[in-house]
Structure formats: C-alpha cells, structure tokens
C-alpha cells in the first residue's frame, strides 16, 4: 500500500455559506504532510471528514487502504489522532486517561509512555481539568504516539504553545517517525515549523485545494527574482507564471514567480535588464503568494 490517505471528489456542505468542494488529496505512505490554509478554510472540517466524524455529501475517502466510513474501526485502530479540541475526560487523572486509552490499542507502548511522562514532566496523579495548555498538548501527543499508529492525523498539535513545549512535542513526534516510519498528516499555522520537517505540502482555501506537491518541488519552483531596469518588461510570453510584481526602490523590481527552472535566466537577457538575484521562496511567503494568486483567479 503506497497511499496512506486518499480523498477523491469530496463534497460536504457545512452551512449555506461554506462547503468543501471537489476536494482531492493524496498522502503517500511515509510522508510528513503539512496541511496549510487560512483560518476557516476547511482544514478541521476536512480532518473530521477523514476520520468519519462528519458524513460527506459525495466523494470517497480511504485511510490506510480502508474505506471510510464502512471500515472505520480498522482504520482508526491504526491511526493516532490529535483533534482540534482535547477530547479527554476532565475528571480523570493522567494515569486513568492512559489506562482508558490503552485499552483500545493492543500495540500500546507502556514503556515509552512512562518514559515520555517523565520527559514531559507530567504527573500521573494530576487531574486533566488542572492541566495547563502545554501539559494538555503533551498528553495528547503522548496518547497518540504510544498507541504506535501507522498514521498520525494531527489538527494543529502545537499551535498556541510556547516554544519549549512546541519543541518537546515535535521532538517526540519526529523521534517516533524515525523509529517507526509512520505517515504524518499535520495541519498548522506554524509554517516555519512545518518547513523544517514536512516533505509534502497541501494548501487549502475556501473549501478547496489550492495546491498539493512535494516540498522540494515547492521550493525549487517558486522564486523571488530581483530585476533592475525591467519596468518596460511584459511577462505575457514568459515561460513561468508571474504571481506578483512589486516596485522596490529606484529601478529595481521584485517578481514572485511559479514554475521556475534555472535555464529561464536566459529570458531576462535583453537590453538594460539585469537579473540581480533569484532566491527560493520560503514556505510562508510561497503560501501567501499562492493564496493571493488563487483568490485573484477565483474572483
């Protein structure tokens, strides 16, 4: 099996104003897939549809090869989840919630669970209602990891956490992925964190997919180009797509382009134009420019 999550032609009308429309996602097995999008674009709704928590109007979803919702129990037994809001019982202690959780997962790694409790400085007798936001996040990651899943579906697992907790939580995740080779599907606004470890990127906006591609292609194809003396240059017949064009100071302009290849520098070799710099767009800038272009095309 080479696809961990397969979504085809997914439709779901959440309200008269908002719908997921014709969403197709392919998450290869073993990928660390970053799922990006502005607030309210449908990321959490999509995740709920993936996990069978919402009933779709049309389309098809498979998790680890299992049809959702028909074979949901088999899929969920092998999937670790961190939902957008903690789903644990507030009156249980940490020890009790571990005991509750592990009962559902035969592969539960008790040794690592107690190790992680120590690393995360979580006290077994503490009640969940008394946990800080950071402690809750650490407990959620611990529960998701110690069931030893093949797939992790994480809805903003580190957003709103301080940098120390964020590091702890991410380190545990990447430690697990190193030893187990699991697939990770993670949504987040912390674009610079995703940029460190994701090898696939999917971007959503207004209920639809904007783009889905390997991180390497994203980096090599999206560039920021600085040009001098290019004011009269018309990009109409350019071999790349111009996403944005901005006057800097004086005669210097910055272009943001998509579909760039190194040999395209030749296109700029004309009178008076000097190509000053071609730099990779980082994920955050690329994300912003892609959304801007997507919205311009839509309206």
């Amino acid at each position: 099996m080479s696809t961990a999550i397969e979504v085809k032609g997914l439709h779901y009308r959440a309200s008269p104003e908002f719908a997921i429309e014709d969403l197709t996602l392919t998450v290869p097995a073993g990928a660390l897939y970053g799922f990006l999008g502005p607030n309210g674009c449908g990321k959490t709704t999509t995740i709920r549809l993936l996990l069978g928590l919402l009933r779709r109007d049309a389309g098809r979803v498979r998790l680890l090869g299992h049809a959702v919702p028909e074979e949901l129990p088999a899929a969920l037994a092998r999937t670790g989840v961190i939902p957008d809001r903690p789903h644990l019982h507030r009156y249980l202690t940490i020890a009790e919630s571990l005991a509750f959780h592990r009962a559902f997962y035969p592969e539960w790694d008790a040794g690592w669970a107690s190790e992680l409790l120590g690393e995360f400085r979580l006290l077994p007798h503490q009640r969940l209602a008394r946990l800080s936001k950071g402690e809750q996040a650490k407990l959620m990651m611990l529960l998701a990891l110690c069931q030893r899943p093949e797939l992790l579906v994480l809805d903003e697992p580190m957003d709103g956490l301080d940098p120390v907790v964020r590091r702890d939580v991410l380190s545990a995740l990447l430690d697990y992925v190193s030893s187990r080779g699991a697939t990770v599907f993670v949504s987040s606004h912390l674009v610079h964190e995703l940029e460190r470890f994701c090898d696939w990127i999917g971007v959503m906006d207004r209920g639809r997919l904007v783009v889905e591609l390997p991180m390497g292609d994203f980096r090599s194809g999206n560039k920021r180009i600085r040009l001098a003396g290019a004011a009269a240059l018309e990009p109409l017949e350019a071999p790349f797509t111009l996403l944005a064009r901005e006057r800097d100071a004086g005669a210097v302009e910055t272009w943001v382009v998509r579909g760039w290849r190194p040999e395209m520098t030749g296109w700029f070799e004309r009178d008076g134009v000097a190509l000053r710099e071609v730099v990779d767009l980082d994920l955050e800038d690329g994300f912003v420019e892609l959304l801007r272009a997507f919205r311009a095309r839509e309206s």
């Binding site: 430690d175 190193s178 610079h192 460190r196 470890f197 990779d280």
Partner: protein, 126 residues
C-alpha cells in the same frame, strides 16, 4: 554544532548538516572514531525529517568522512590531512561564493568587491 540551521535557506537542510560536520572534522573538533548522533536523536533534537539526516549521513559516507556500522551507528573515519585541508579550501570557497551572491544583490561589481577584500586584508581602516 547544529545551531542556526536555516530551513528558509536555498541550501538544503541535509547539506547544511553535512557542511557543519565536515567543518568539525576539518578543524579537529570531531576526531576519528567519534560517534555521530543517531538519525532518531538528531531528527528529534533538530525537529527535522529523519530522511534529511539519513541523506546528510549518506553523503558524508560517500565522501569518506564517516562510516555506517550496521546496528552500531555512524562514526567519524580517520581523515587524512590532505582531505582536511581540501575541506578547509571548500569552506573558504563557500564563503566567497556567498559573498559574490550578496555583492550581486547589491549591484556591486567584482572589481569593487576585490578592492574591498584587499582593503580589509590589509588591515581595514578608513
């Protein structure tokens, strides 16, 4: 050793890791027989993709800087003084390339850059 990795840089992360390790070997900070962190440790610590660490280590192995011993880990190989000095030259060239790229960005000519370097090498001053 791995501080200030820059995921936004045009230099891929695996290469940034490899460059740092080679520099450590070239300067003697890492010696023959020293073990490198495991893939799992380093990926967790740096919060990067394990495949990135594997790629860095594999490149270093191909270039003869480390050896992967099955089940034991990754170890620094004994590296001749020739390789060490070659690596120092490579480091210097990387710095120079970076400087050239920055100069191009500011629209400086090579002649201006050359004069500035000579000036600094001669002790700087106004």
């Amino acid at each position: 050793m791995f501080g200030n990795l820059d995921p936004k840089s045009a230099v891929p992360l695996y290469e940034q890791i490899a460059v740092r390790l080679k520099a450590a070997v070239a300067t003697g900070e890492l010696r023959a027989g020293d073990s490198l962190p495991s893939v799992r440790q380093l990926a967790g610590k740096l919060r990067i993709n394990p495949a990135t660490v594997v790629q860095a280590y594999r490149g270093l192995e191909e270039q003869g800087f480390v050896e992967l011993r099955q089940g034991a880990g990754t170890f620094v190989r004994s590296v001749g003084s020739e390789t060490r000095s070659r690596e120092r030259v490579a480091q210097a060239r990387r710095l120079a390339r970076q400087m050239l790229a920055d100069a191009a960005r500011f629209g400086l000519s090579r002649q201006e850059l050359r004069e500035a370097i000579r000036h600094e090498l001669d002790g700087g001053g106004a």
